[in-house]
Structures are given as structure tokens and as C-alpha cells.
């Protein structure tokens, strides 16, 4: 070791120590950058979740008004025939109006009355009364107590999203309406309850009546088709490529193809679906069948790649053992290798299907953006899907819609988390290592 004239090692000279300090500071800065990047990413995730959950959790409860409705025979059924079809067409709107006007007898002016009526969800209340009378015509002439959703503006007011102190013309709800709503809340006639509508209803023009049931059923159908098509085909293709494919140009071509398909933007799959399934084969627009097929083609590469790595992870000695006992190659693969790779295949399939569940763009291309107010009853019926429903609702500027969009996102994310957790659980439980 060389020494400077003073007897101190050059590594301990002032200049060297200064240099070392600079280098160590640089090192610390670099490390902080890394930590900063991680924190930034985690913060973004946190911000996303907080903003969505914070906007959306209030959609899981809703305010309902309980009101006595007198089913006046002269209005609903002037002929007295109790014909269900005639009852269906009756003027229930008027019945509901009368019921509310009766609750506030002091309100007499026409304009005030119409403001008063706006407290309840008009179509929600009329539909509910109509359905009850249709189911049981003997109710006509009696007084019925129904619980109906309040209008979305009242709901937002009671959830505290409408500023009561704002000038009257700058909020969606008038001073008089606030007084009435407060009176009804005080007497307990307006109560906040768990929002079952959101889970049982389909899309609607009124936010207080809109629900995700139709979209969820549409998504389930599309996923069912996607699963039924992509898992057998994907596993088959993977087994072929991994076990039976000869080493030739065609096999290489197929492999390159699969890798490239995995990177094709999802919207291009939508264009494929539009051009081939809809225009060439003439399948119905907006149908879960077509949506499922497009999603199946999209998930195919994911499943093939996952299955191949699961097959590769099975110890070759298993196959050798089977072959040495006289099994044919096919038998060794199907009786031993594939069953042992099944947990990996299953995990890959679940992850692939979870991706497909969140996919929106290809479904837009094949027309699954229609306004569908019925729960789809078959694979070829027009349907929506959960992510598409989110997209459609996100277009509306009103706060009640933002709330419901976020709630639908919460549902979607919960399902995705469950699916991925299931995949992780299965992998850790079932996977064997050799």
C-alpha cells in the first residue's frame, strides 16, 4: 500500500475522503430515486382506489320514500273489469301524484305541485305500483303503502353532495324541495336503505333506477362462451406445440404467430369480430355469443403460453416412467403430463379470463354498447357487459351517475381481485415442484 508523505494512505487523504463523500451521496440519491419511483407507483394506485371507492361507496345505499297510495278505482279501472292488460295501461302517474299532494295538502299551486312530484322517482314509483296491481288486481280501491326511490337529486342532497348554502338557481334542487325533503326525513318517511336496485335492475335513463344486473349477466354469458372456446382450444394448441409438433417451418410460424397475437391491441380483435363474425358470418350484433368469441380469440395466446410453461414444468421423469411401462406417447401425455400440469393450466386460464372480463374495446366494436333494459335471456340476445356499462355511464356528467359508475367499478374490481386471488390460491395449493 502506497503512502503519502504525511504517512496517511491515499485512500484517507482529504481529496479522497471528499470524493468518497460525493460518491456515497450519489449512491444515496440513486437509492432514493428508486424508493421514490416505487412510492410514486404505489401512490398512484392508492389515489386511483381512493378516488373510485370514495366516489362509489355511497351508491350502495339510497334514500327511499315510504308513502300511502290510494288506488282509486275511478282512475285506474273506470270500467271495473279488472282486466290485467287494461290495468297495465292505467294512469298510475296520477295516482302517485295524488298520494304526494295528499301528503302536503298546503301545496296548491301548479308549479309547486310539479316541484313536489319531482321528489320521488316518477317512473320508479309508477312502475312499482303498476306491477303490484298487475300481480294482484284485487288491490284496486284499497290503500297501498309503497316504498319508492327518491329522485336522484334528492338522494344526492341527503348524501350531502348538493351544497344547501349555494344560491338556489345554482343547485338542482329548490329551497321548497329542501324543506319538504327535510320534513319527510324528520318523520322517517324518507329513509336510507341498502340499494338493492343497483344489483337487481338493468340499465335505465334514471340513475336511481339503474342497476348492473343486465350487464353482469351479459358479462357472465360472454365469459362463459370465451371460457368454453378458449380453454379447450388453447390447451389443445399448447399440448400440440409442446408435445407433438414436428420441428419444421410451420411450427415455427405458429409459434411466432402466437407471440404476435399476444401483443395485438385488443381493439384490432374487435375489428376482426366486426368484419368476420358480424359481416361475414352474419351473427347478431350486441350478442354475448360474438363478444365471447372475440374475447376467446384474445385470451387464446395467454392460455397457450401459460399451458406451455405448465407442461414444461412437469418433470420429464414422469413421462419417461409412463413410457417405460408401455404407455404410448399420447397416453403418457394425457394420462400423466396434462393432469399434473392442470393446476398451472387452470391458473393461467383464470388469469386469462379475468383479463377478458375487464376488456371493453373489442366489445364496443361488435356493438355491445346498446342501451339494453332487459336482462339478456340467451346468447344471441342483445346484451351489455359490465365494463361497457361502466363506459356508458361514465359519459353522463351528473354526480349520481359518477357515483354509480364508481360503484360498478368497485364491483368489477372486487370480482377481478377474487379471480386473481383464486388463481394464486390454486397455484400455491395445487402446484407441485420437482
Amino acid at each position: 500500500m502506497s503512502s503519502s508523505p504525511t504517512g496517511i494512505s491515499i485512500h484517507q487523504s482529504d481529496r479522497a475522503l471528499k470524493r468518497l463523500k460525493v460518491r456515497k451521496a450519489k449512491e444515496a440519491r440513486f437509492r432514493m430515486c428508486g424508493i421514490g419511483a416505487v412510492v410514486a407507483a404505489v401512490t398512484m394506485l392508492g389515489w386511483l382506489l381512493v378516488s373510485i371507492v370514495g366516489t362509489g361507496y355511497t351508491a350502495f345505499y339510497q334514500h327511499y320514500l315510504t308513502i300511502d297510495v290510494e288506488l282509486t278505482e275511478s282512475v285506474i279501472d273506470p270500467t271495473g273489469a279488472r282486466d290485467p292488460d287494461e290495468l297495465r295501461k292505467a294512469n298510475f302517474r296520477k295516482i302517485i301524484q295524488e298520494a304526494i299532494y295528499d301528503r302536503f295538502p298546503t301545496v296548491t299551486e301548479r308549479r309547486e305541485k310539479s316541484e313536489l312530484f319531482k321528489i320521488v322517482s316518477a317512473s320508479g314509483a309508477t312502475n312499482q305500483a303498476r306491477q303490484m296491481v298487475y300481480n294482484d288486481p284485487t288491490l284496486v280501491g284499497k290503500t297501498l303503502t309503497i316504498t319508492v326511490p327518491t329522485s336522484d337529486d334528492v338522494d344526492q342532497l341527503l348524501k350531502g353532495y348538493i351544497d344547501r348554502d349555494a344560491p338556489e338557481n345554482r343547485r338542482k334542487i329548490s329551497n321548497k324541495q329542501i324543506v319538504w325533503v327535510d320534513a319527510l326525513t324528520e318523520t322517517g318517511e324518507i329513509k336510507s336503505k341498502f340499494n338493492t336496485t343497483f344489483f337487481t335492475a338493468t340499465d335505465s335513463r334514471d340513475p336511481e333506477l339503474a342497476g348492473i344486473a343486465g350487464a353482469v349477466v351479459g358479462s357472465l354469458m360472454a365469459l362463459f362462451v370465451a371460457f368454453a372456446v378458449s380453454v379447450p382450444v388453447g390447451v389443445g394448441a399448447a399440448v400440440y406445440l409442446e408435445e407433438f409438433a414436428p420441428q419444421n417451418r410451420f411450427t415455427d410460424f405458429v409459434e411466432i404467430n402466437i407471440n404476435n397475437l399476444a401483443a395485438v391491441p385488443s381493439i384490432v380483435f374487435g375489428l376482426l369480430g366486426l368484419a368476420v363474425f358480424l359481416n361475414f358470418f352474419g351473427m347478431p350484433r350486441s350478442a354475448p355469443l360474438v363478444g365471447g368469441l372475440v374475447l376467446a380469440l384474445m385470451t387464446l395466446p395467454t392460455i397457450i403460453i401459460a399451458t406451455r410453461s405448465a407442461l414444461r414444468a412437469v418433470s420429464p421423469s414422469i413421462v419417461d416412467g409412463a413410457l417405460s411401462l408401455g404407455a404410448s406417447h399420447t397416453q403418457a401425455v394425457f394420462h400423466h403430463k396434462v393432469p399434473l400440469a392442470a393446476p398451472g393450466i387452470l391458473t393461467g386460464s383464470i388469469i386469462g379470463i379475468a383479463q377478458a372480463l375487464g376488456e371493453t374495446a373489442p366489445l364496443l366494436m361488435i356493438g355491445m354498447v346498446a342501451f339494453v333494459t332487459e336482462i339478456p335471456s340467451g346468447l344471441t340476445e342483445p346484451a351489455s357487459a359490465l365494463p361497457v356499462q361502466i363506459f356508458l355511464w361514465s359519459d353522463s356528467a351528473e354526480r349520481a351517475w359518477a357515483e354509480r359508475t364508481s360503484a360498478a367499478i368497485i364491483v368489477l374490481l372486487s370480482v377481478l381481485i377474487c379471480m386473481n386471488a383464486l388463481a394464486i390460491f390454486l397455484r400455491s395449493r395445487l402446484e407441485r415442484r420437482w
Binding site: A37, L48, V233, V268, L271, T330, L412
Partner: protein, 406 residues
């Protein structure tokens, strides 16, 4: 109707399986209870599978041909045809199945053929994409010259729908769309590339095993969030936040802007870049690190002067893949970037992208022959070609790089 025929078909195939297997048992004679025989070539189940396959294929073929000809020959004839074919299948099996019949070889060949067809689906999908895009694009370029499309500065496809304006077929100059796409991609990469790379560096070189096990899955969650959720986040939270931030400095920024959509898209591709570069950094041999540490370099010096240059090709590959992902991303930009085709270099304005235009051209009412609808396929073709090229180049770089150290 479809359900009933499918159930009938399944029943026939099941029956054929039981028939074939039973026949093998009764004719094999020497089959023991476990099905093992000293004499027969194949296990009874293979005879069953063979019968199921033979009858099934014959019946499906007959039903398909009958369905095509149903108008000329009538439903009754079709039904009779199918029943006769199925019966014939049973008769053939009855003739063929005996202990010497090599049922297993037939079944295994069939299984291999079926697996081959499965892998063919992937090829068919690619062909389907290429053919449908090229075919529709050619029809579009019959109406709008290719050069006008690629170099035109004006994009206003909506006018094409107005029938009364004969001769005026809208403007299909895609340059504003391309610039918008690249601007948003640029913003996204500006956010994602540094953060993603630093995360990869931190996780692979600095983090303890425990931190890594905790942080990596959290980052991966970002990749699992559906893009429609990011789009809503950009629209509901990030867009207004950026607008509010800019307003506090006296600028006016629309809620839908390139910067809002781009930065949220950047967050989406962070895990993409971080996990790919993580792999690449981990693939650099440990000997390089050890050599550098032995010479007294700090971790950051090792990282920037040794590992980073060694991993650079792989990292470039990862960035290219991320760019291709950003260009093809749809929902975030549809919801947060705006629809008007602005030719601008300012990221605080609303711009539009290729994917946004495809969506807005194809949702809603469409006539399939109008230039407006076909333009979506031309844009789709451009998108497909660009992403494909990026992927091929990226994979080539990554592969070449991997070979260097193996």
C-alpha cells in the same frame, strides 16, 4: 331447437361409445375386469372412443350437409339422412371392432389431428385479422387515395355521411390523428419509462427479499386494473386535477387533454416496463456485478456503468413493447383524450388517437360501405402494422441480447 339437436347428437355419441366398448368387451373374450387383455390390441375404451368418433363425425357431417341443402330436399329428408348415417356408423363399427382392430392408433391419430387444428386457430386468427383489415382498407383506398390518407392534414370523417353533399366525401387526412397518438404515447412514456426503470432497478438491486415480495405484487395490480377503470379515473379525477392545477397558474386546460390521458396511460404501463426490465436486469450475469464491486464501485455506479449498458438492448426492447402497448390502448384515450382531431404540439390540448377514431367511427349507426366506416379499418391496419413492427423488432432485440450471455 339447436339445444335439442346438440343434446341428441351428444346422446348418439355417448351411445356409440358404450356400444363400441361393450362390443370390444364381448368380442375380446380375454379382457379381464380391469380391461387388460393378453390378446386384444387396444383397451376396450379405445374401441369405444373409436366408435364415438366414427359415428360422431359421420353424423355431424351428414347434419351439416343436410342443413346446407335443407331448402331443396326438405327437413324430413335431412332427418332421415342423419339417422341413416348414424346407423351406418354403428354398422361399420360393428363390422370393424374385434381384438385385432387397432382402435388406439385411430384414436391417437384423431387426437393429434384435433390438437393440430387447435393450434391452427391461432394462425387462422392472424389470417382473419390481416385479411379483414387489408380487404376493408383496400375498399377504403378505392375511395380515398392512400397518399391523401397518410399525408392529409384535415380529419373530419363525419361529413361523409351527408348524402346530399355529393362529391364531398369528408376529409380523411390522418396526420392529426397520428400526431395525437404519438403525443399521448410520448406523455405516457415520459411518465412510465423513468418510474418503471427505477422500480426495476430498485427491486432487483436494492430491495430486500421481503420488500420485493411485498412491492412487486402491488405494482402488478396496476397491470390488472381494467383500462376502462383507468379511463374513468382520468376523466373523473386526473383531468379535473390537472385543470385545477393549471388554473391556479392562470392557464386554461380542458378536462380532456393529452396530458391527462397520457399520464394515466403511463401509470398503466409502469408495471409492464418494470417487470420486463426487471427480467432483463436479472439476466445480466452476476459475475459482471461481482467484478464491479471488487473494483470498489458503489451499487449505483455498478448499475449505471456496468449493468445498464449490458442490459440496454433488453431495456430498449421492453420500452418498444411498452410503446406498442401505449399506441394500441383504447379505453383511456376514448374516455379522457377527446374526439376532435387537433393538429397541435401542445399536450395541454385535447387530441385524438387512432384508437379513439376507430371507436367513434364504428359505434353508433353505420353503413358498411361508407368511407367513414371503412376508414376505421384503414386506421386499424395502420395500428396493426405499427404494433406488429414494434413487437417484432423488440422481440428480435431481446432474443439477440439473451443469446449473448447464454
Amino acid at each position: 331447437m339447436t339445444l335439442i339437436s346438440a343434446a341428441l347428437l351428444a346422446a348418439v355419441i355417448m351411445a356409440a361409445f358404450i356400444f363400441g366398448r361393450g362390443l370390444a368387451f364381448s368380442r375380446g373374450g380375454a379382457f379381464s375386469a380391469s380391461g387388460v387383455s393378453g390378446r386384444a390390441h387396444s383397451l376396450p375404451a379405445y374401441h369405444g372412443y373409436f366408435a364415438a368418433w366414427a359415428v360422431g363425425v359421420a353424423t355431424i357431417l351428414a347434419a351439416f350437409i343436410g342443413w346446407m341443402l335443407r331448402d331443396t330436399i326438405g327437413f324430413e329428408v335431412v332427418a332421415i339422412l342423419v339417422i341413416v348415417t348414424a346407423g351406418a356408423g354403428f354398422v361399420v363399427c360393428h363390422q370393424l371392432i374385434n381384438p385385432d382392430f387397432r382402435a388406439r392408433n385411430f384414436v391417437e391419430t384423431f387426437v393429434k389431428m384435433a390438437l393440430f387444428l387447435c393450434s391452427g386457430v391461432a394462425v387462422l386468427t392472424t389470417f382473419g385479422i390481416v385479411l379483414s383489415l387489408v380487404f376493408e382498407s383496400l375498399r377504403f383506398f378505392e375511395q380515398v387515395p392512400l397518399l391523401d390518407f397518410l399525408t392529409g392534414l384535415q380529419w373530419s370523417p363525419q361529413t361523409a355521411l351527408r348524402e346530399d353533399q355529393a362529391g364531398q366525401s369528408g376529409a380523411f387526412g390522418a396526420v392529426p390523428i397520428f400526431t395525437g397518438t404519438f403525443m399521448i404515447m410520448g406523455v405516457a412514456m415520459f411518465v412510465a419509462a423513468p418510474i418503471g426503470l427505477l422500480i426495476a432497478v430498485y427491486l432487483s438491486e436494492y430491495a430486500s427479499k421481503c420488500t420485493r415480495a411485498l412491492v412487486k405484487p402491488i405494482i402488478e395490480i396496476l397491470a390488472g386494473v381494467p383500462t376502462v377503470v383507468y379511463g374513468f379515473f382520468a376523466l373523473l379525477t386526473v383531468g379535473p386535477a390537472i385543470r385545477g392545477f393549471a388554473e391556479s397558474f392562470g392557464f386554461s386546460v380542458p378536462t380532456q387533454s393529452a396530458i391527462a390521458a397520457g399520464s394515466v396511460m403511463g401509470v398503466m404501463i409502469i408495471p409492464f416496463i418494470s417487470s420486463l426490465s426487471d427480467d432483463v436486469i436479472n439476466a445480466v450475469p452476476q459475475t459482471l456485478r461481482d467484478g464491479s464491486y471488487a473494483l470498489g464501485a458503489t451499487r449505483s455506479e455498478t448499475m449505471t456503468k456496468v449493468i445498464f449498458p449490458a442490459a440496454l438492448p433488453g431495456i430498449i426492447g421492453a420500452l418498444l413493447l411498452a410503446i406498442s402497448r401505449a399506441i394500441g390502448e383504447t379505453m383511456i384515450v376514448v374516455m379522457a383524450a377527446g374526439r376532435a382531431a387537433n393538429l397541435t404540439g401542445n399536450p395541454f390540448e385535447a387530441v385524438t388517437t387512432v384508437t379513439v377514431q376507430i371507436v367513434s367511427l364504428l359505434t353508433g349507426d353505420q353503413e358498411f360501405d361508407s368511407a367513414k366506416t371503412l376508414a376505421a379499418f384503414a386506421l386499424g391496419l395502420v395500428l396493426f402494422v405499427i404494433t406488429l413492427a414494434l413487437n417484432v423488432v423488440a422481440l428480435l432485440i431481446v432474443r439477440k441480447y439473451r443469446e449473448r450471455y447464454e
